[in-house]
Amino acid sequence: MSSVNEKIAGKIRSIASSLLESGEVAAFLGYTTGSLPGMMQPYVARDAKEAENLSWSSFCVINLANYLPALLKSFEPPRRPNEPPPEGPLPKVGVVATGCWSRNMVVQIQENQIDRNRVVIVGISSRGMVDRRKVQRFVGNREILSMEEQANFLVVKGKDFEEKINRWDVVRDNCKTCTHPDPVIYDELVGGLSGKRDIPDRFRQVDEIEALDIEERWKWFQEEISSCIRCYACRNVCPLCYCPTCFVDDSRPQWVGKSIDRVDTALFHILRAYHCAGRCTDCGSCESVCPMGIRMRLFTKKLQKDVLELYGFEPGLDVETPLPLSTYKVDDPEDFIITNIKKGDKK
């Protein structure tokens, strides 16, 4: 482990263990080292001893905000669906947060999914997380048996090879175009802040697809999702997806078929992306977890671009600015409502 990560991990462990020891939090949500090279596992420490298992590296690709609502709920006394929460303070949870994770926590606060007073946020400025697939592509078909992280390099070893890879070359696409690596809300800070980054061509990947004509674009989309197995890892890992019953699981009415019909799969991906419009922070978890390597992050990135252009809005930067697609103002433009259609215009 690089000394940077070791320092961060050490601080996380000491903050977590004192929070757990003092009883301020009932659990601490972070990461522990996984069983495969380049894998980290989301981890819940429930006492100071378990806090020793917490760790940190460039492979923390899952947005921990995703676990928060359910974890907080697990510390509430059981109640019926419409019953209000009990009076008095409820147990708190500690959590590690980078820029995008903290921005999703802001969205969760705005959407009443978590209570700010019940989370203790330990902020970390992200250096960008590594895409395991890019590392694999770098070494070809050879099996990776260990991945060691140095400050700016990864040392990848297999049965009969060793490669030194520049870390930035294998950082995820979303992290490369990230403008807010620093946590936007936090109670404690680990390490320094790195400030807002200016990325002039951060929508380049979207621009390239937009430049295609409509048939080509449809073909690109169809091809991208052709290997989808409908495991819903992208949906389940998303901190924005918290509906008690997802539209794909509804059976009365049934909006979408359950097996792997092409039309159904396309519908799922389009609707999933649209549900994230104006809320998605481009954390990249969906793409990182996809077992089939589908780049569904590009769908939400397009909507992120549209929301920025249409509303001048980026989600999760502060709790006070309302989400553009869930608010209504009397003077909202209504150009999209077609009125006074002349008879001759009808087709």
Binding site: Q41, E143, S227, A233
Partner: protein
């Protein structure tokens, strides 16, 4: 049955002959380094990659989805609500390049599906040419689950790739023997026999047999073990493990209707999904993720061996490699064995 050898150049011709009779499928490279089961495309002998492809062969026996029957869905019309058997004219299938773990998964799935006409019909119509493993991946653990890298269970014909690209063929069933009714083959040399025998001897035969140990454990002791909380904490309840697993065989059934035509399909279900055990009343006996995660492992490693003998896992390592949150069945198995 007596083994035969086919030289590389002859093997291509042999495969061409087989293509006249069968729809031949093999691991195909689709995107980047992703191998999936697909129709044999190019002429010539396909390269069978080390380890297993991303997707399993269960889709040939337990299709996603399987159409059980069709019906007219417009009341008043003549065919309204009359059931029709789905018409599908397909040739017999040949799976070329099945690894031992995947071949064995079909044998295991046949146990609960013994009386399932759809599964058994698909099995009858499919011939499996297996490729034995000389080299595994670090995530392979077939020997823990009762399998072997050189295991031939489930195969009709077992193939060992020789150093010079020739194939050493061992017919296992009558179906497999039928594939060798051509003039492309010769008897193996003594050297080749020694080579294959040598591979067999290298396999670790002391590998621990886990199923009998699991069967001897108390069911409730495993069920109430304290580690399930920790195992399930990271789980996001996606279907990656179950859909990539060769031995997950749970399904759900639904009627789909479109423009007056209906069909009843059965499609893959996953015990990771909240609807899996949802009752009509709204009650769900496995309402939270701990219960769902526990069920996946208990089904594979306790309920199945208790009922059928072996564990319902072939050690292919797909769930180990592709679980987005790195829940590693090898670690869970080790913890269950400690109880």
């Amino acid at each position: 049955m007596k083994p035969l050898v086919v030289e590389k150049a002859q093997a291509e011709k042999w495969l061409e002959e087989l293509c006249r009779v069968f729809d031949v499928f093999c691991p195909v490279k689709v995107k980047g380094d992703l191998y999936q089961w697909g129709r044999l495309g190019k002429k010539g002998l396909p390269r069978i990659p080390e380890g297993v492809p991303k997707t399993t062969i269960k889709t040939f026996f337990f299709p996603q989805p399987e159409v059980l029957f069709e019906f007219g869905a417009r009341p008043g019309l003549k065919d309204a609500f009359r059931l029709k058997e789905p018409v599908c004219e397909k040739r017999p299938r040949l799976l070329f390049g099945v690894r031992p773990c995947d071949a064995r998964s079909v044998v295991l799935n046949s146990m609960p599906y013994e009386e399932d006409p759809y599964f058994q019909k698909n099995r009858d119509e499919t011939t499996m040419v297996g490729f034995l493993c000389k080299d595994g991946c670090s995530t392979c653990f077939c020997t823990w689950t009762g399998g072997s890298p050189l295991g031939m269970e489930g195969m009709d014909l077992a193939v060992v790739e020789l150093e010079d690209g020739a194939l050493f063929l061992e017919p296992i069933t009558e179906k497999g023997l039928g594939l060798l009714e051509f003039d492309f083959f010769r008897e193996p040399t003594e050297e080749e026999e020694v080579f294959v025998k040598g591979l067999r001897e290298k396999v670790n035969k002391d590998a621990e047999e886990t199923s009998s140990r699991l069967r001897s454990k108390g069911l409730m002791d495993l069920y109430n073990a304290p580690f399930w909380q920790e195992v399930s904490d990271a789980c996001i309840n996606c279907g990656t493990c179950t859909f990539l697993c060769p031995t997950c065989y749970c399904f759900d059934i639904q009627d789909e209707t479109l423009r007056g035509k209906g069909r009843r399909i059965r499609y893959w279900d996953s015990c990771m999904f909240p609807l899996f055990t949802q009752h009509a009343s709204g009650h769900n006996p496995r309402g939270d993720k701990l219960k769902r995660v526990r069920n996946r492992f208990m089904h594979k490693l306790k309920y199945f061996p208790d009922r059928f003998g072996p564990v319902s896992c072939v050690g292919c390592g797909r769930c180990v490699r592709d679980c987005p949150v790195n829940i590693d069945i090898r670690q869970v198995l080790a913890r269950m064995l400690e109880v």
